[in-house]
Symmetry: C2
Subunit: 345 residues, 2 copies
């Protein structure tokens, strides 16, 4: 990333990412079981090169735990109101322990019923949605994930933000390969991409965001402070954001995006956003040739000069970071180290 | 529509649309029960102003039934391999009778299990996907629909079509109102929009399609003969098309879009595409304030000057067509009348 050249960088092995993350969370008052759950997701994000959802976001996680915007010691509560429905109340804690609690029950339910859903409510930013659906697909199930976020996209024709960047994710198990994972926000880019540019002091490309007057901007700060995100594909992106809003926020009883406090600053109490996952057993419906047919589809894409399957960049990052570790801005490393050595709250 | 000015038009009452459609299908060798099912969807499309999926498509339905590309007398077969999974084999017949057979079982399963899915395989073009998810939402269930179609979208960076225009649809029940329905293709516009322009002899806007050399085109014929459709939002639209492909085609055991014969011409045998629907009971998870929260979300959109909720145009069309009927091109009316008075095959 060109912005990297503007700040000195520090190289960390993945074990160091793990250690630093866990200690920073513990020092911020997060319980060990919850810190373990969040740490695994931060390490996974850095492993796959998704820095925006990895260490770049960790200072915010720690600050939110410290000021009580997240209850770092929350114990999520699971219920199963119907054979195919699992409900987890994150109780204003991190999303990761709530999802980790629900996934085994979701997977068991999907195997029994053929299809099941996990609704997570009163939750928080869950990091990379693909991380969660990939784990469902590792259990040989097809997975869909819907996640809402504080409002940052305006409906087409309007000026006030109603939807979050509201990502949707999809994963399908493959024979003798990692699952095929698709993970995309409803906006042209994820909001966290703009935050990374702001952290690095770099401008954003035109077409990513609008300022508070609804005008295109290259200024990350203008985009984040009162501006809105541009939906991908115009009204189709806004339509997808609405669908995700209804699945992730409305259907889980979580806060609508218009009612959720910011994921970025310390004010407003718990965001209480939601996540909704669907798991489907392909066995009874996809037929005996499912593996070969999936291979044929993947080849029709990856076999074209210039085209690629989703996940190829992340797969390359996994290979690279396993050997070389990751590079993070020196100021971020110093900040995280300072958090990690502080006395727990 | 400006293209309407180029051809003389005929006004039909909705009862006349129903009668003409049913007779044209019967005269093409379609069984009465199947013809009734298809007719209901054609009338619904015309009622809501979606001419491209209404009478404009009927000559093709009739031709396909006549040449055997569709088995007009097919009896779809239902099974329920898991408590939450309903599978219907359309047996190379129309999609509509297959979906009509599966919907009551899907709705019953979703009420029992909390969530259920209907996989339809060996099927055909199902018309407006929103029509099907709306009927699920009328049973007080949240509905998702995924539909594949013959390949017409190339992966980003590639040149050969891999995905159909692959629409996704969503519906959610509302208190004392028709369901909120979203229905959008993965391409900038539905392929049927280009077919309507071709029928009317009108050019298409730049940005809708590419010709066979991958160049932008305003020529509907160049788009339909060897060209490809442009995905909405670039790689995000192509990503959505991949997700829909996996849900609608791969997961149902239907033909992949690359293997499906055209919906437009008479060659290649049955397209054997697929449809996948998910129904969810919001009661156990959306909470007691679900109705009020949905109203609040809708108001946040519709209350903004210049913004609108999906479905407002269709709702206006319902009011208009109930009183005024619909206008169709005179050559199309003459063609359908000729089909309807022919001797059954």
């Amino acid at each position: 990333m060109s912005a990297a050249a503007t700040a000195p960088m520090v190289r960390l092995r993945l074990e160091e990412v793990d250690d630093l993350t866990f200690r920073a969370l513990i020092a911020s008052g997060v319980s060990p079981v919850n810190a373990r759950s969040v740490t695994a997701s931060v390490v996974a994000a850095e492993t796959e090169g998704v820095h925006s959802h990895g260490l770049a976001r960790l200072p915010t996680y720690c600050a939110h735990a410290k000021v009580g915007k997240i209850d770092g010691a929350a114990a999520p509560a699971l219920s199963r109101p119907r054979p195919g429905l699992v409900l987890v109340d994150a109780r204003d804690g991190f999303a990761h322990p709530a999802i980790d609690l629900g996934l085994p029950e979701l997977i068991a339910a999907a195997r029994e019923q053929g299809i099941a859903a996990l609704a997570v409510t009163n939750s928080y930013n869950c990091g990379v949605v693909g991380y969660h659906v990939e784990r469902i697909a590792q259990a040989e199930l097809v997975a869909l994930g819907f996640v809402n976020a504080p409002a940052s996209i305006a409906p087409v024709g309007g000026t006030r933000a109603v939807f979050g960047t509201n990502p949707v994710a999809f994963a399908v198990p493959r024979v003798a390969e990692t699952p095929l994972v698709l993970d995309q926000s409803s906006s042209v880019v994820a909001k966290s991409e703009i935050m990374v540019h702001q952290q690095r002091g770099a401008p954003i490309p035109l077409g990513w965001a609008l300022d508070r007057e609804g005008q295109p901007t290259e200024d990350a700060k203008a985009a984040l402070e009162g501006g809105t995100m541009v939906p991908a594909g115009g009204h189709k992106g806004a339509g997808l954001a609405l669908m995700v809003e209804l699945m992730a926020a409305w259907l889980t009883g979580a806060n609508l995006s218009i009612d959720a406090s910011s994921f970025a600053d310390n004010s407003g109490g718990s965001p209480r956003t939601g996540q909704f996952f669907i798991a489907i057993d392909p066995g009874p419906v996809a037929g005996p040739e499912a593996g070969a047919r999936l291979g044929r589809l993947c080849e029709a894409i990856a076999g074209q000069e210039g085209a690629r399957l989703p996940g190829q960049r992340r797969a390359a990052a996994r290979l690279r970071t396993a050997g070389e570790g990751v590079m993070i801005p020196k100021p971020l490393h110093e900040r995280l180290t300072a958090i990690a050595i502080a006395t727990p709250a």
